[in-house]
Each structure stands twice: as C-alpha cells, then as structure tokens.
C-alpha cells in the first residue's frame, strides 16, 4: 500500500476523532437521560407509577423473560410484521408489473389507487375485524393495508421512469417486453425498490400494532393496550422500548441488504 501523505493522514485522524466524539456524546446523552429519569423517580420528582423508571423497566423485563411472555409477544409482533411486509412486497411487485405491462389497466386503476392510498388506513382496521374476525389474519391484513397502496404506486412510478433508450436497446437486440422487464426495468429500479422496502417495513409495523390494539390476545400492541387498561405502565413502557428496538433492527437489516446489493451490483 502507498504510504499516506502527511496531510491525508492528518485528515483521516481528524475524521476519526470527530467520529469518536460523536459516538461518545451520543451514549453520554442516553446515559444522562436514564440517570436523570431514575433519580427523579426515586426522589419523587415524578410519579414512578405513571412515568416508571429504568430500574422498574429492567425488573419488568426480567420478570417477563422468566415466564417467556416477553419473547412470545415480541415474536408474534415480529412474525406478523415480517409476513405482512413480504406480502406487501409481493403484491406490489406483481401489481406494478401488471400496470407496467398494460398502459390501459394502469390508466383505469390509477385514480382508485390514489384514493385508497390517501385514506387513513387505521380507519380500516375495525372494518377488517368485522369482515375477517379477530385473528392473526386480520392483523396481517391490517399491516398490509397501511403500506400496500403507496408501495404499488411508488414501484410502478419507478418502473415507468426507466430510460426509454435503454428499453429501445433491448428491442434492437430482439428482446420482448418480458426481457425488457428483467434486463432493464427491474435492475434500474432497484435503488427505488430498496427505498420502498425501507419505508414499508416501518409502515407494516405501524399497521400490525394498530391491528393488535383491536384484534389480538398476544403481541406488543396487545400488551400496550392491556397494560394501559389495567394501569401497569411499567409493562407499557417496556413494550414501547422493545418496539423501538424492533423498528431499529428491522431497518438495519434492510440497510445491510441494501449495502450488500449496492456493492454486488456496483450501483
């Protein structure tokens, strides 16, 4: 390897130092917040019954871990979220492909998609319960309903923005529409598809929690509603924190996939 010039070395050193500084203060901010919370609860500056405290949350977590209920609730929410996410991707990919193939169908459906997409989806959940019953299926459909219309629209838009000249190239090489789809349209929409994934994983989680509020006996959404009804706020805040962690991890997984794809495909 070449030896770095002095200025370059200095630049890298400064960059690292800045990076450490940011990480350090991030954690400091977090710990100070926890400390302040704990202290104010113990000194009765705030009512620990309503606001809970880090030690009480930890206690709750340990307690719930012992009877495995924490894993059950988390697992169920995670399962429902992932399943509705995959279904959203599948449905929107297939629908976007159909719309892309047929200009007429897309012209007919476009206004309806826009209307469905602008509907506040949480309003659909009670209807879904009546139609489908209070079960897991309803929750998965509720999760999908939040994301699917927007996802179809964005994916179709991405497909349509494909460079006409690149499409023409495939035709000059004797390719048909299906080959245009696989050789040009999908590869060049990949960056948009990834950002659609990123948005949708969060939306599916929102939809699943809404579904669980109304129709579940298990899952973090159920835990939140149940805890609020019997005023066990330790449970409620614990559930919220787990939700935060889930949302962060899911996003991180997709970001890793994105990184991987970008490196492989040189985008």
């Amino acid at each position: 390897m070449d030896k770095l010039s002095k200025r370059q070395a200095e630049f890298i050193k400064n960059h690292r130092r800045h990076h450490y500084l940011v990480s350090f203060f991030r954690f400091m901010a977090f710990f100070s917040f926890l400390l302040l919370w704990e202290v104010s609860a113990n000194l009765h500056w705030i009512d620990a019954f309503i606001f809970s405290s880090p030690s009480r949350i930890l206690e709750t977590m340990i307690y719930m871990a012992k009877d495995y209920s924490i894993f059950r609730h988390t697992g169920i929410t995670l399962y429902e979220t992932l399943l509705s996410f995959f279904l959203v991707i599948l449905v929107s990919f297939l629908t976007a492909t159909i719309l892309w193939f047929s200009g007429t169908i897309s012209e007919i459906l476009e206004p309806w998609l826009v209307i469905l997409n602008s509907l506040p989806k949480s309003a659909l959940a009670p209807l879904l319960i009546v139609w489908l019953g209070a079960n897991t299926r309803t929750i998965i459909v509720a999760g999908m309903s939040v994301a699917v219309f927007g996802s179809i629209i964005s994916m179709y838009t991405a497909f349509r923005e494909t460079d006409e000249e690149k499409i023409k190239l495939i035709h000059t090489l004797g390719g048909n529409q299906l080959q245009v789809l696989f050789h040009v349209v999908i590869p060049s929409s990949l960056p948009s598809i990834i950002s659609i994934l990123k948005v949708n994983i969060g939306l599916c989680l929102v939809g699943v929690i809404i579904g669980e509020f109304l129709a579940a006996r298990e899952g973090l959404g159920y835990l939140i509603i149940y805890a609020s009804q019997i005023f066990k706020l330790n449970y409620l805040i614990t559930a919220l924190i787990i939700l935060c962690i889930i949302a962060f991890l899911l996003y991180q997984i997709i970001q890793n996939i994105e990184h991987h794809i970008r490196k492989n495909r040189n985008l």
């Binding site: 000249e165 090489l173 050789h183 040189n266």
Partner: protein
C-alpha cells in the same frame, strides 16, 4: 449484383393528438453488400425515424423495405442497431454486456461466444472483460457497444450518431476504430451523422436528406485516390474539401 437492402417509396408520419407530422416522404435507395452508406440531413428531419423503420422497430406505413429479398423485415436478427449512447449496463460486467444480445436471443453457442472472445481480443478489451463499464474510457465503451451489436452477426449494421456523445479528440479516434472494425468484420453499414467531415471520412456513398418531411436531395458517391484509406487520412486528402463544399452547398440551398 443485387443490392442487400432495397428501400422503395417509403413514407412515414407520426400521429399525435396535436396533429400529423410527416417525417419521411417517398424515400427510395438501395445499399450493396459491403457498402458504407452515410446519411446526413438537418436536425429533426427524420434520420432516426428512417433507421427505426429499417430495423423494424416501427412498422412501415407506405412503401417497402426488402433485405436480401425477404419482403418484410420481421424483427430482425439480421440487422444490428447501434444507438447514440452506448447504454452499457452498470449492473453487468463488460463481458456480460457484450453478450446481452446473445443472451436475449438464446444464442450463447460456443461458436458465438468464441467470436465475442476474439473480438474482445482484437479490439483491445479483453483485459477489461470482468471490469464494470464505468472503468472504461469513452472510446472503449463505444467499442464494447459495437461488439455487443456485432455479436449477433448481423448482415446490416445501423449506426445512429454513434460518436455524438464523445469529445472531439476521442471522436476522431473512435471513428477510425469503428470504421476499421466494420471493414474487418466485412459488414454493410448505414451511419447517420450531423458531422459532414465524419460523413466524408467514412462513406462510400452519402445520402443527403432535405428538411422535414425528409426526401432525398442527392446521393453522392465518394471516391478517394486510395480506396482503403482510413477516415483520419481521408480528412487530409485533397478530395476531402471538394466533397465538403459540395455537400455544404446541397444542404444550404433551398428547393
């Protein structure tokens, strides 16, 4: 000898709600095997439309196009079309790009792949076989695009302003390269350009089109003292200026 391509009385109009645009009117010409025909004409006159018709990308409305006596050019394995930009896909390696046509037509036979391999060797791209297109220079990209077209072994090659995206210096070199490749592979070619010097330096014949709706103003045969002279040398030859003036006059007189 019968010509490879015969175009007779081709007329074409685009239809939009705002009206009808006649792009080509009564175009008749033919191209012999091994010939290099260059088409020049004012911008927007219908040159790209003519190539699209020849390649079968858009169907003919009036008139007929015959390629070695088959009346309809169904699409078109016998015609290679090189677009203005190279459109190499960044998500494929150079090699995967040049065999794209073979892949699409499911013709990845050992002979065809060997031909591609040979062309990559001959035209200086073999060491970039597994590179990404972004690692190639402008000239190399254009050569890769040409190899992609030639991989399907078309008997007629259509080139629509293939050098216009390049800077001037690269352009002169690539023009030489592409010309020698086409000659070496013994292809018949039709090239569209705005650049009169480019036209004279490559053509056996030059077809001059009028403003839209394009009709043929003149078909000019180009002869240099040495018929094998490469484009760069033609530019310095004494005949060059004479042809330049003739075409310039033709394009700038009305009626």
């Amino acid at each position: 000898m019968t010509p490879l391509l015969e175009v007779s009385h081709v007329t074409y109009s685009y239809h939009t709600l705002s009206g009808e645009t006649t792009a080509l009117s009564d175009i008749t010409f033919s191209v012999d095997e091994g010939e290099f025909l260059v088409i020049v004409g004012p911008s927007g006159c219908g040159k790209s439309t003519l190539l699209s018709l020849l390649s079968g990308l858009i169907p003919t409305e009036q008139g007929s196009i015959r390629l070695s006596h088959t009346p309809f050019i169904k699409h078109q394995t016998d015609i290679g079309y090189m677009l203005q930009k190279d459109h190499l896909f960044e998500w494929r390696t150079v090699y995967k790009n040049v065999i794209l046509g073979l892949e699409i037509q499911k013709k990845e036979t050992p002979e065809n792949l060997a031909h591609v391999e040979q062309m990559l060797k001959d035209y200086g791209l073999i060491s970039f076989k597994n590179a990404r297109p972004s690692e190639l220079s402008g000239g190399m990209r254009q050569r890769a695009a040409l190899i992609r077209t030639l991989a399907l072994d078309p008997s007629l090659l259509l080139l629509d302003e293939p050098f216009s995206a390049l800077d001037y210096q690269t352009r002169l070199n690539v023009c030489d390269d592409v010309y020698s490749i086409i000659k070496k592979e013994r292809k018949t070619a039709i090239l569209v350009t705005h650049d009169l010097s480019e036209a004279i330096s490559m053509a056996d014949r030059i077809l001059i089109l009028s403003k839209r709706p394009a009709c043929i103003r003149q078909i000019l045969s180009v002869h240099f003292s040495d018929p094998k002279m490469p484009p760069m040398q033609r530019r310095q030859a004494p005949e060059f200026k004479h042809y330049f003036n003739e075409i310039w006059k033709e394009l700038n007189t009305n009626g």
